[in-house]
Amino acid sequence: MVLATTIIVGSLVMILWTITVRGIRSLNWDMVSKVPEGGFYIGKGGGLLNAIIGSVYITMGATLLGLLISIPVVLYINIYARKDSWLATVARFTFDVSFGIPSIVYGAFGFTIMVYFGLRASLLAGIITVTLVIIPILARAMDEVIRRTPGELSDATYSLGATRWETSKVFLRQSLPGIMTAILLSSGRAIGDAASVLFTAGYTDSIPASLGQPAATLPLAIFFQLSSPIQEVQDRAYAAALILTVIVLIISLGSKYFSKKLSKNKI
């Protein structure tokens, strides 16, 4: 048992170690501050700013859109619907199941929709697809938090004559740290997901100026550059992997921080 634990913890530490060591060797300031220059893909100058910005755009857009859809759903199944509502059960079950559906399926579906509406691979299409991927994560995480809020809170607001809408606002404010945790959780997934943006967001060397333009993303930058036969380009993939890992780790540490804050205020 100790051996198994050591193997698992060891292999996980080894991943961080390998990525850090290989990444630092090829990391430099140009990587995070410049877009690719001419001949970038045969080892000439430039950086990955296009992919970093593209990933940030997609993540922020998808998170915003995802919140717009999932907050009403979560409020509905927790506050508006009756306690024994079958709709709430079905919704929770759907989110749990669609949480497990691989992002390549979302990607293929997103691409079908794109073709149907005559859209090209673009920032907008990428955002929409990633939104589909993260809605289950957002909804379930927020649902857990609001469900844990004590029932006395709603008893109190209703007895003061508040409507369900006003009660919702009270609940939202009460679970703000939990919502932050949900946002960070889902953006961690959104920024690292490659398969869903592969066909939908496209890839480009410039920073997208509008929703209709294609956007590069960090995971795809890693993926494409790693398959290059040229050593300098491969090195950039390692550096990009380190950048992505650091971003994701910061995001998840942030979410740990907020969930700790949440449990501190627990009534």
Binding site: I8, T94, V97, P102, I104, G107, F199, L226, L253
Partner: protein
Amino acid sequence: MSRYRLIKDRISGNLFLVFTHLSILTVVLIGAGLYGKSVPILKQSSFFHLLFSSEWKPFKNQFGFLTYIVGSLIVTGLAIVIALPLSLLTAIFISEYMPRNLKRLLIPFIDLLSGIPPVVYGVWGVLTIVPFIQDKLAPHFVEFSSGYSALAGGVVLAVMIFPLIISILLEVFNTVPQELRDASFSLGANQWETVSHVVLKKSVPGILAATVLAVSRALGETIAVLMVCGNQALMPHSILDPVYPLPALIANNYGDMLSIPMYDSALMLSALILFVIIFLFNGISRIVLYRLERRSYA
């Protein structure tokens, strides 16, 4: 004033209800959309012929998924065979043996790693697992292996699903009431007897559910597998041969398949197959986990 408030309440209620229905409908839409796209190929040849034929010649209109399905099964099987025993032992160790302060250190660490994107696991696989197989392992068994193989895919996937399985198992073990353990100890059982006769026995459905969830995660994983599996559409003879799993097939061919209509349809069918299998797997295991959860509250 108060009427205004009531109207606001009614409007928000209806609006939210619509959103809830829409979000549930999305899953149905995904299934229907993929099915609609795969109808042309299903009309052309029978479903079972597509599944069990290994002829993949898009230009001659022949689409047999067998090589890809076998590839997916081998990689997923390897990942589960590696990951399940190790994760099970680790979860038992963490849950039943480890002192509390160590637990508090280790669990967040494992959680943290579950957030690392698949593409990073893929990079790690290319950097360490692939060369290891090529230089150290493969020469003992076969004449040549590039290292990009089913085994590499299995190992990378196994490491990827460690955190998933462990965190579900820890929750499952948590639902076993402490009183049962206490009762077992008071009858003179030692720690291991308690674990094997009480905790594990009570957790069998949960362990199965965790396994099924892990299988569906491994089946659908795309990028990490794509990076280390070699992607050659040949029937593999050993786990040191390259394989070409289904998600990798979709990912690699999506860009240039639009010119051949049947190709498009064939790839959509493979996405549909993945969707249906994983939907069923997830659904069943979630139901099992819900039951467990309810038991622990009751």
